[in-house]
């Protein structure tokens, strides 16, 4: 992306801070300013900036909860928070809310330029000392995801070959009619299989089944080969 056309919104009630930030974003444009939370909300929706430089002490802003709300207003905007020294847990909480960078509020203008360029390249502007929270979270969610996948796979293992075949087709969004045609069976038989599948998986409708199968099939795609790894009885 061209650096000259990066749309940036600066939000602080302090004129001194805004002036320093403006020096930091001099090589980017256009730059918009806002001094209140209400006006910030409106500009986030209307202007859709690529970057929001946000003063943590903006009047009315209540930490992580409000920042999460702001991010939800426009998920494409990369939010960089400028704050006094925060506790590690609080700062990490802001990253978990979705901010892409956190700087001390006395940061020099040149550093702001570096931070924006780095974030534009897909990096996070995060203190190295916070990375252990990130690694721990990554390991935890991976373990949780693996546990869920294993539990789902255990349930799916109870399905017969035909039931699994039908479940996969439901996962691809096929209708009963199309499934019946594809498998050369009657729609009534498809419905009977579905009833049995719902019972075995302890679910009540095809939407839940579709979601389960979609996740399962996605996790069975090998990233290297991009091919589907079918269960043993399909090979």
């Amino acid at each position: 992306m061209l650096q000259g056309v990066v749309l940036i919104l600066l939000a602080s009630s302090c004129k001194k801070i805004l002036a320093r930030w403006e020096r930091g974003v001099r090589e980017f444009s256009p730059v918009f300013l806002t001094t209140s939370l209400d006006s910030l909300r409106g500009k986030l929706v209307n202007i859709k900036p690529e970057f929001l430089l946000l003063d943590y002490n903006l009047p009315g802003l209540d930490g992580q909860k409000d920042i999460l709300e702001l991010i939800k207003l426009n998920v494409e905007t990369k939010v960089v928070v400028f704050s006094p020294a925060l506790l590690d847990e609080i700062e990490w909480g802001l990253f978990k809310a979705g901010i892409r960078g956190c700087c001390r509020d006395d940061i020099q203008p040149e550093q702001i330029t570096f931070a924006i360029k780095a974030i534009q390249q897909g990096e996070l502007w995060i203190r190295r000392t916070l990375t252990h929270y990130m690694l721990q979270e990554l390991v935890d969610i991976t373990q949780e995801k693996n546990r869920i996948e294993q539990a789902v796979n255990d349930l799916l293992a109870n399905l017969t070959r035909r039931e699994y075949e039908i479940a996969r087709l439901i996962g691809r969004g096929e209708s009963n009619k199309r499934i019946a045609r594809q498998l050369a069976i009657t729609e009534r038989t498809v419905k009977a299989h579905l009833t049995e599948i719902f019972r075995k998986l302890d679910i009540t409708d095809r939407l839940n089944l579709a979601l389960i199968m979609k996740d399962t099939m996605a996790s069975q795609i090998s990233p290297q080969s991009n091919t589907f790894n079918a269960p043993p009885y399909f090979t």
């Binding site: 780095a118 897909g122 990096e123 190295r128 252990h132 690694l135 390991v139």
Partner: protein, 176 residues
């Protein structure tokens, strides 16, 4: 201050000796643990990509359990299934040891993320300056990750995308 204990597994023998020698120069800060019970030559010849990888994983876990290093520099030859299995086994059996992977070429983003998700604390290019190794050991000992910032960005995307309780309702980057 206690020196940081470090063990090295399965680098080729020459490289491993050089690395051990280099790290031992800073003996006040880093203590290299050498497993006198293991047959270095035999282990050195067996690479982690060996077909007998399960026995090898057990072997590495047993050695790490004996030595109890704070930081383990592990040459996994390449980031593959065996590497991830080793990381999982180490995390399960030696949770206090922080594993830094020694890689012999640049790491692909997806593989790096998978290694981090399975417990790796960072990556070091075998061909890079040994000075980086000391810096990495100090940083990892402090709990920091030793990975490029871009990978951190991708790791954060993965956290936000995978964990619904954390997500702000969408993905924030093209990586999603």
């Amino acid at each position: 201050m206690q020196p940081i204990t470090v063990a090295i597994v399965d680098v080729n023998l020459e490289k491993r000796a050089q690395l051990e020698q280099f790290l031992q120069r800073d003996e006040k800060s880093i203590k290299v643990l050498v497993d006198i019970k293991s047959n270095h030559k035999r282990v050195g010849e067996r690479r982690i990509k060996s077909r007998k990888h399960l026995a090898l994983i057990d072997d590495v876990v047993a050695r790490v359990n004996r030595l109890k290093p704070r930081v383990l520099l592990a040459n996994t030859h390449q980031l593959s299934g065996v590497c991830y299995e080793l990381l999982i086994a180490l995390r399960r059996n030696c949770p206090d040891t922080l594993v830094v992977l020694l890689v012999e070429k640049s790491v692909e983003e997806n593989q790096a993320l998978k290694a981090l998700a399975n417990g790796a604390r960072g990556f070091l290019d075998c061909s890079s300056d040994f000075l980086n190794f000391s810096k990495a050991i100090f940083a990892v000992d402090q709990g920091e990750a030793w990975v490029p910032r871009k990978i951190l960005g991708k790791a954060m995307d993965k956290i936000l995308f995978t964990s619904p309780r954390n997500a702000a309702g969408g993905c924030f980057d093209s990586a999603c």
